[in-house]
Symmetry: C2
Subunit: 220 residues, 2 copies
């Protein structure tokens, strides 16, 4: 029985890792859709989301079964509940990938305007954050998650800069308002991806150190 429980815990972990990979791919394809004006890549994200949503429910049901069958306590209980929250955060990350994909499709249908370099940097940093948060979860290395937390403010600042820059673009080129709004939306969704990734990192730290990191720093 005990062995069985540990196997099921490992199974939950590996499912969450797979969920994380699905979401990472969706975000990457959405961004490729934007930067390369690759409408097919962007459209594929919409299909990927269906898979992500179905997998979220599968993992969630597994969690309920795991709790009901084995009635874990202490560290195991906290780990499993954190897994449930991480699963939910990953599904929401998938929603933001879809939003970016939709903006990419919309952008590709209009004359291009320059993409602010900050958006490329945000894309790189959020990708790094997602990778670190998931690695940190798999290998129980909270120090790596603390690095994720530290990057959240950088992304917030970049998002504000992008929004202010694009507001200026709109003021001087009102004919480009739709493209500028699409790029603002991409920036904002990257910022939300960083936020949700920060939530995941907080859960990892919480499980590892049994302490609540959430809300100790200002959030938006």
């Amino acid at each position: 029985m005990q062995r069985h429980f540990l196997q099921e815990l490992e199974e939950l972990k590996s499912r969450l890792v797979r969920m994380g990979s699905l979401v990472e791919r969706a975000v990457a394809d959405a961004l490729r859709g934007l930067f390369d004006r690759d409408v097919e890549a962007a459209h594929s994200v919409l299909r990927q989301e269906v898979e992500i949503n179905a997998f979220e429910i599968e993992i969630d049901n597994g969690v309920v079964d795991l709790l009901a069958l084995h009635q874990p306590v202490a560290t195991d209980l906290r780990f499993i509940l954190a897994g449930m929250k991480i699963n939910n955060d990953l599904e929401r990350l998938g929603d933001h990938a879809v939003n970016i994909a939709q903006s990419a499709i919309s952008c590709a249908a209009r004359p291009p305007i320059p993409i602010p370099p900050d958006i490329s940097r945000m894309a790189e940093i959020t990708r790094e954050m997602m990778k670190s948060a998931l690695d940190s979860f798999i290998h129980s290395t909270p120090a790596l998650s603390r690095k994720v937390l530290a990057l959240d403010d950088t992304i917030d600042e970049m998002n504000r800069r992008v929004a202010s820059h694009l507001a200026g673009v709109i003021r001087s080129h009102p004919e480009s308002v739709e493209q500028a709004l699409d790029l603002m939306r991409v920036s904002r969704n990257l910022e939300r991806i960083a936020d949700l990734t920060t939530n995941i990192a907080e859960e990892v730290i919480f499980v590892a150190e049994a302490q609540v990191v959430k809300h100790q720093t200002d959030r938006k």
Copy 2:
């Protein structure tokens, strides 16, 4: 022992109701900040969020204790896990109230532009949705939650209409870009509030009917 468990379940329920009231008040004050250009009301939302965040953690800790001590199964387990998710959704609703409050503060510092009537309607409908979702949770009336689900598409459509209208305002009055962007942000946050309220309604239905409603309809 059994009686004790039931009391704790009731306690969880009443805490979630209180959390819901806190969030409803924050959203209402944020909107008052916008419509009445009442900067003090908007600022109060930032203080309320601190309370909401602290209460989320308190409820979350209560859930962990409840699961660990009583190891519930079946319906009770599902109810408690749904409560944990609803708690999390309510906290995120509070974040959106803060975003609206920030836009209200920003708007009040500039010359006013007309607020699209759709935003007032969205405010009314989302308030009604929040009230229904919470009532439905308290009284275990899933039919009321189904009404909430039906309203989500209405809000999405209104948000699209507001965004498109305000893009036109920007094109013809580029000098009002900041105010128009602030109002878009309010509309978007109301749309997110409707989304999260829909999540809550889905959880209520899930507990009541032990069926997954999520992802059965298209979400964005």
